[in-house]
Amino acid sequence: MSPLLANLLLALLWMALMGSQQPVHFVLGFLLGYGALALLAPLASTGSYVRKLPHAVAFAIFFLKELVKANLRVAQDVITPRALRRPGVVAVPLSTRNANEIALLANVLTLTPGSVTLDVADDRSVLYVHCMFVDDPEAVRAEIKNGFERRVMELMG
């Protein structure tokens, strides 16, 4: 069984034990289950899951932060009379060739307003992204590589 599924089941089990349907008890049960899986790591193969879950939470928080920031930036450009936008298509060289990682990266980039993934090269070496604020293509590349790409690789790798 996948450790994530086991953790969810443990949380449901905890809710059943408490005889409660409150979300608080689900969270509590999930945390207790996570602790149990962490203790189990030397015996069962739950180690990589235990290591990755904090990364996943950090990634979700980082993503929400970027989502709000980018939304406000695009909204500002929509309402100000003078155009601040400098749209352009930027080629982002990829450090990973893993299809799942590229798919996740492309999706989070498209989800954040101000950048849409146009396509990925057939050899998976480059991602082509249309960005709304390209003051300097190098800066945009660096921002994507140090922000989302690094985190996606930490999470999936």
């Binding site: 695009v74 929509v78 309402i79 298509v89 080629a91 989800l111 990925v120 709304m132 293509p137």
Partner: protein, 128 residues
């Protein structure tokens, strides 16, 4: 207590609606189809998520909260796929980019007939 919750829900729903309104205004004001997609993707992500979150907080019910979570999850999964498909189709079919476009490093990379996309070969080319 109930009032505080309602105020929070109202603020969330209000800002969600504001983002959707801005997305609509953006559709009218942006110069080309790709920048319009930037404007409209706000409605699909933050706007919808905020309204759904507002509903969950206003009703304060586990079943509703679970459904709200699922709705925003499905939105987050499906919206970018559709956006990418539309953007790629638009670019390939040759919809012109706005004149203010700074750089187009994708220009000339597509094979005209097969739509195959080359990787790291020639250097970036400037926008027309």
């Amino acid at each position: 207590m109930i009032n505080v919750r309602l105020v929070i829900a109202l603020v969330l729903a209000g800002s969600g609606c504001l983002f959707m309104l801005l997305a609509g205004v953006g559709l009218l004001r942006m110069p080309d189809f790709l920048t319009r997609m930037h404007a409209s993707s706000k409605a699909a992500t933050l706007g919808a998520a905020l309204v759904v979150a507002a509903v969950a907080i206003a009703l304060w019910d586990g079943a509703v909260a679970l459904r709200a979570l699922l709705v925003s999850m499905f939105l987050l999964i499906t919206a970018p796929v559709a956006a990418h498909a539309i953007a790629r189709a638009g670019y390939i079919s040759g919809v012109p980019l706005a004149e203010e476009t700074v750089v187009d490093e994708l220009a000339g990379r597509y094979d005209r007939d097969t739509h195959e996309l080359a990787g790291t070969a020639a250097g970036p080319s400037e926008a027309p």
